[in-house]
């Protein structure tokens, strides 16, 4: 399976993965998150687990189950960790813990390495077997969101679980907290072979255009993201309206609902109202499995935006760069790590800035093409799935050899 990536990803990543898997062969590695579909974490796990199995690792993926009330609470936790004001009661934290406790009955957490994704299942650590605390079993908490400036009160409630892990992984240095455990930095990644990123024929792209009623008569500006305030869809429409005064164009806002995001529908309705009857604005709500359609929308676009005002990492930026598209992103979360300003795209700080950069790209196709090409190479070296698998295996191996700064394999 890993051979499929040969010739696409950096050779050293493939080699190191194989060498680490030789060392870790037969050991068990479990990932736990809170949604099977929707969002970057689920997408990567769908690809990573079979790949790890193929390399001789006993890899499993378990999903935390919760009801609407639980996901309302965890959405509030998510928002508060990202700096949005939310109210919490003691009962809410008790319910959060209770759902984790119930899940412990259904999830077999006995593995050599346990990787827990995000806050929803973080409390599972409390049910770690006592025998594994002192042994060689490694528990790692993987935080995918921007926790740099949480509102007061929310982090201490989570931190009491996080400090029980062997180590934590954050996507960006500035998200890391001052903790008494090892903290690694691992940027997320995209899969170049998935339906969302593989090459498409012109016919496949045109079919999707027809399916969604998008004429290919003028330049297309696209933002792909959940309908979430932090993604600033209203700001994107405002930027489009400024551009429209100078350059005729279309705007596509495309997103999928996620089972752990109860706010999505409210925001979607607000965005629809705000767009009004403009025939050049296309608001598309796609089921989470429509990866090929997202791929085609990205490939038919001329400029791709991720104008977030809060962001975990913003992998849609790497997806667009992989397709050699010029990108514009908000200067938040992991976006500036992907967009080297002026080299692989532009980082912006306002609606006006986004509009100005869109106009620059629409009026300078050579520059747009050059940045697109630079972007693809940058993603190849830094943001492909093999690099992330390499990093997870390396952290597991490093945790088994704690205290060593250089290891020869």
């Amino acid at each position: 399976m890993i051979r499929q990536y040969s010739g696409i990803v950096p050779k050293g990543d493939l080699l190191l993965i194989q060498k680490l898997c030789e060392k870790l062969k037969g050991r068990s590695f479990i990932h736990v998150n809170s949604t099977r579909e929707g969002g970057g974490v689920a997408e990567i796990l769908q690809r990573m687990i079979p790949l790890l199995k193929d390399l001789g690792i006993d890899a499993r993926w378990e999903v935390l189950e919760g009801d609407a009330a639980f996901f309302e609470i965890t959405k509030k936790i998510h928002n508060a960790l990202q700096g949005n004001r939310e109210k919490f009661t003691k009962k809410m934290w008790e319910y959060y813990y209770e759902v984790n406790r119930k899940n412990k009955r259904n999830i077999n957490l006995n593995a050599d390495a346990v990787l827990i994704h995000d806050p929803q299942p973080a409390a599972l650590i409390d049910f770690r077997r006592k025998s594994s605390r002192s042994g060689k079993k490694i528990w790692i908490w993987r935080c995918h969101i921007d926790v740099a400036h949480p509102v007061s009160g929310v982090w201490p409630n989570l931190k009491k679980y996080i400090v029980q892990y062997n180590s934590a992984i954050f996507s960006v240095s500035k998200f890391a907290k001052s903790l008494p455990i090892d903290e690694f930095i691992v940027t997320p990644s995209i899969d170049p072979l998935s339906d969302k990123n593989r090459e498409l024929t012109d016919r496949e792209i045109n079919e999707v255009g027809e399916q969604f009623g998008i004429p290919r008569d003028k330049p297309i500006i696209l933002q792909v993201s959940r309908f979430d305030r932090f993604k600033d869809p209203i700001g994107v429409i405002n930027a489009y309206k400024i551009v429209k005064k100078y350059n005729d164009c279309r705007l596509i806002l495309a997103g999928s609902p996620a089972t752990d995001d109860p706010e999505g529908e409210t925001i979607l309705n607000e965005v629809r109202d705000y767009a009004g009857n403009d025939p050049d604005i296309h608001i598309l709500l796609l089921p989470p499995d429509k990866h090929k359609e997202i791929n085609a929308l990205q490939r038919m676009s001329d400029v791709i935006l991720q104008k977030s005002i809060k962001e975990g990492f913003g992998l849609t930026v790497s997806e667009a760069m992989w397709k050699e598209k010029p990108v514009i992103g908000g200067a938040v979360g992991g976006i500036p790590l992907q967009i080297v300003h002026g080299l692989t795209g532009f980082v912006v700080y306002s609606v006006e800035g986004a509009a100005f950069r869109i106009r620059q790209f629409l009026n300078n196709p050579d520059m747009a093409k050059r940045m697109g090409q630079e972007g693809r190479e940058y993603v190849r070296n830094n943001f492909l799935i093999t690099r992330q698998i390499r990093d997870y295996l390396s952290i597991w191996y490093c945790s088994m050899n704690r205290g060593r700064h250089v290891m020869e394999l």
Binding site: P10, K11, G12, D13, L15, L16, K19, L20, A148, H149, F170, S173, K174, A176, K177, S178, L179, D182, E183, F184, I185, V186, A331, V332, V340, L343, Y378, N381, R390, D391, S394, I395, Y397, C398, R404, H405, V406, M407, E408, L409
Partner: protein, 224 residues
């Protein structure tokens, strides 16, 4: 039968980044933390800067932050002029960084904070070194290999070697070319490549040009 030639074995270094959890919002905080963090963190922010591959306006992360976020260009230039390979140890690099910052602070004693989100975050790394499965026995084989190995391999043999092998040693490539192939002039040309003035890809191109010229001369029977 001649003497058996010791082949050049290409290796690669992959570094996994660890956060120290410490960060600085202004120059005084940066100075304080430079004096306190572990050697691994100074090593990462100075020596491993070249792993980034494309940004070469500065020569280490501290200079980059001073220039781009503190917007203290003069300090950035001075920090950039520190050559870690002429200093004997990380301890000396640390002293030199502190000396430059102290000198700057003596003239401009009231540093301001950077914008939120632009703080300097102190990291360190754990490095995994592994052979990439390529061994070369002559310059023609070396020429093919240097064109195809990953950038991380060039970093390991061209930059990391300067620290790994100790004082007086420049890079693995020229060492092998001089001491195993006895091609001192080729080795000298590789040593003359300024490590601070090029991206890794540009260094690859320079080495390729130097070696290709030599291989061509060999094929034409022209002595270098």
């Amino acid at each position: 039968m001649g003497n058996k030639i010791e082949p050049f074995e290409f290796k690669q270094c992959v570094s996994i980044v660890k956060s120290t959890g410490k960060y600085a919002s202004n120059l005084s905080e940066l100075r304080k933390l430079i004096s306190r963090v572990g050697d691994e963190s100074i090593f990462h922010h100075v020596y491993q800067y070249f792993l980034k591959g494309h940004m070469l306006e500065y020569t280490n992360d501290f200079a980059h932050w001073a220039g781009e976020h503190l917007e203290e260009r003069a300090l950035a230039e001075r920090l950039s002029s520190i050559d870690p390979y002429t200093l004997k140890s990380v301890t000396e690099v640390r002293k030199e960084l502190i000396r430059e910052i102290d000198d700057f602070l003596s003239h401009f004693p009231e540093p301001r904070d950077v914008a939120p989100g632009s703080e300097f975050y102190f990291n360190e790394t754990v490095s995994l070194v592994f052979p990439v499965g390529v061994k070369t026995r002559n310059l023609a084989e070396f020429l093919v290999a240097i064109g195809h190995i990953d950038a991380g391999s060039i970093y390991y043999h061209f930059y990391d070697s300067r620290v790994r092998l100790g004082e007086g040693v420049v890079d693995d490539f020229s060492r092998w070319i001089e001491h195993t192939l006895y091609r001192k002039r080729v080795a000298d040309k590789i040593r003359a490549i300024d490590p601070f003035m090029h991206s890794i890809e540009s260094i690859r191109e320079h080495i390729k040009e130097i070696v290709e010229e030599c291989v061509r001369a060999d094929m034409e029977g022209v002595e270098d």
